[in-house]
């Protein structure tokens, strides 16, 4: 059987798990094996029912009085015990912070390799997987050995598809043997993020600024443009490095991944570590002084010129339109 670790936060499903189940079901079908899932902590029991629509025939409910919140080592140990009792051929999780973290611990505890952020898998011994490198800018084909195969599924690469499992959903309640050590790393407190502005990852319009903006004051006209379009401001690493904007605004491999309807990239050259973060944008408009800037090859529209001249005039035009 193929075992998928469902990610949730105190009972709230992480939708990325459905991508993982879609991926896992495809593999299970090709191998003619059942797809099973594991839910950790009592708080997640209610999610079990909904998994059948994605092809899950059996859900392992891991119950333990201390599993009321996320604790990576305790989650990993729970999976390790299921590996021992259920002998899955492969164990998968989402390629999220938590998914990669838990499977890395599983790999460490079982001394097995783990392939993070896969986009394709070809079963066999070894498995041949395709996985992402450089945050998605490069792909790798690799051979993955081990019993079971451990892998995570790259986020946003697999379109979620339903595929009902036949028969009645089987529930299997298990209580793992967890000790204090398994809980030495756990969430002890939560602090809500402040800020009521539109978040970068949810914004419909993102106005990005790069080194070409020149200073933190230079962002004033970009802030205004974003406000006019009810969007958010983002930036390149050249900007955060200078301290012109906080790192929370950075788009790219080591920053945020954005998926707006429109990304307006001002004074950004288009390094691959930046553009990998805006792959999800439906449309890109570039404002750049250099007609040869690589980012033009990712854009639908471009204006060649000094952003400090173009953006203020654009803002004035939008205001004119709004006042009509």
């Amino acid at each position: 059987m193929i075992l998928g670790l469902i990610e949730h936060d105190r009972g709230m499903l992480n939708e990325m798990s459905l991508e993982m189940l879609t991926f896992g079901r495809d593999l299970a079908n090709r191998l003619n094996l059942p797809l099973e899932a594991v839910l950790i902590g009592e708080g997640a029991n209610a999610l079990a029912e909904g998994l059948q629509a994605y092809g899950v025939s059996k859900v392992h409910l891991v119950q333990h009085p201390r599993l009321d919140d996320y604790a990576p080592e305790a989650w990993a140990q729970s999976v390790v015990e299921l590996i021992e009792s259920e002998k899955p051929q492969a164990v998968m999780a989402s390629g999220t912070d938590r998914g990669n973290e838990v499977l890395a611990y599983v790999g460490a505890r079982t001394n097995l390799p783990m392939a993070a952020n896969c986009t394709e898998v070809e079963p066999g011994d070894p498995y041949t997987v395709t996985r992402v490198r450089w945050g998605g800018s490069l792909l790798e084909e690799a051979h993955l050995t081990g019993e079971p195969k451990l892998l995570t599924v790259a986020p946003f690469m697999i379109p979620v598809e339903e595929g009902e499992a036949a028969g009645e959903l089987v529930l299997n309640t298990v209580t793992p043997a967890l000790d204090d050590k398994d809980f030495r790393v756990r969430v002890v407190e939560r602090v809500k993020s402040t800020g009521d502005t539109v978040s970068l990852t949810d914004a419909r319009v993102v106005v990005g600024g790069g080194r070409g903006v020149g200073s933190s004051e230079g962002f004033e006209s970009l802030d205004e443009l974003a406000a006019l379009l009810e969007g958010a401001v983002g930036c390149s690493r050249a900007v955060t490095n200078q301290g012109w904007r906080p790192h929370a605004d950075q788009i790219g491999q080591t920053g945020a991944r954005i998926a707006p309807d429109l990304y307006i990239a001002c004074g950004i050259s288009g390094a691959i570590q930046h553009t990998v973060g805006c792959k999800g944008a439906k449309q890109i408009l570039v404002i750049n002084a250099d007609p040869e800037a690589p980012i033009l090859s990712k854009a639908g529209y471009a204006v060649i010129g000094d952003l400090h001249e173009v953006v203020p005039v654009l803002n004035a035009e939008i205001k004119k339109l709004k006042n009509q």
Binding site: Y70, E140, S193, L285, K298, Y301, A302, E317
Partner: protein, 254 residues
């Protein structure tokens, strides 16, 4: 307080990654080299910890002889000494890398240095394996908090924060401990000229590590299929503003 920080030399790729003919490496002939931004921040964090509490900071890398460049870069920022786990430059998987780092940490212990804090980047910029630090922590029986963007040390314990669903998740662990750092935890300083000069004289321990691993084997590298668009140039300078507004109207964003 003794701090170890582990970094990895990677090419500074530009707007496109070019592969060698056999598709097993990135064509680096015309590229410079660097470490991941996550690791730059880890180095800065190590320097700050030791500045604030005394002790020593050590930077470690597993890589070819030329990776001494990244060790010197780190020492130019204030790291005291370096360890090079020297390889022939071929790629080591996460298990092999972690095992070699564990050996090096044990050897440091035998030589009289115990680390209170072991820092890594959240993931290597190139291979993105997401596991070497966790494997190191497991082998050394240390707690590990990954993806942190804040670290505070208080009475032998560490309070680390990372971004989770809906806000900050706070973790508290006792030291020694392993942390993987994400960019944003701090704003790394730039090296000073005296820093660069000093770095040239700081010691680099060279060790030839044992290689065991190879259970996740790269077969080949591929560029993802990407649509290359030919941007429709709306015009030059501010005169193009009305055309932009037309486009915005068409898209329904204004």
């Amino acid at each position: 307080m003794n701090v170890l920080v582990c970094v990895k030399r990677v090419p500074s790729t530009g707007a496109k990654i070019v592969l060698t003919e056999n598709q097993r490496e990135i064509e680096t002939r015309y590229l410079g080299f660097t470490v991941s931004p996550h690791e730059e921040c880890a180095v800065e964090e190590a320097v700050r910890l030791v500045e604030a509490r005394g002790g020593a900071s050590v930077v470690l890398t597993l890589g070819p002889e030329v990776a001494v460049e990244q060790l010197r870069d780190s020492m130019a920022l204030g790291i005291d000494r370096a360890i090079l786990l020297e390889t022939d430059g071929s790629e080591w998987d996460s298990m092999a890398t972690a095992a070699a780092i564990v050996e090096a940490v044990r050897a440091q212990h035998d030589a009289g240095t115990d680390f209170d804090v072991l820092l890594f980047g959240n993931e290597a910029a190139d291979t993105g394996g997401y596991q070497a630090p966790i494997r190191v922590a497991h082998a050394l029986n240390l707690p590990c908090v990954s993806g942190i963007k804040s670290l505070e040390i208080k009475d032998g314990a560490a309070i680390a924060k990372r971004e989770g669903p809906g806000g900050w998740e706070v973790f508290e662990v006792s030291l020694p401990a392993v942390f993987t750092v994400k960019e944003g935890i701090n704003l790394p300083r730039y090296p000073s000229l005296p820093g660069r000069l000093k770095a040239k004289k700081k010691p680099v321990d060279r060790i030839e590590p044992q290689r065991n691993g190879g259970k996740l084997k790269m077969v080949k590298l591929m560029n993802p299929k990407e649509e290359v668009s030919q941007a429709d140039v709306l015009g030059e300078g501010p005169g193009a503003a009305p055309k932009i507004v037309e486009i915005l109207k068409e898209m329904g964003v204004v």
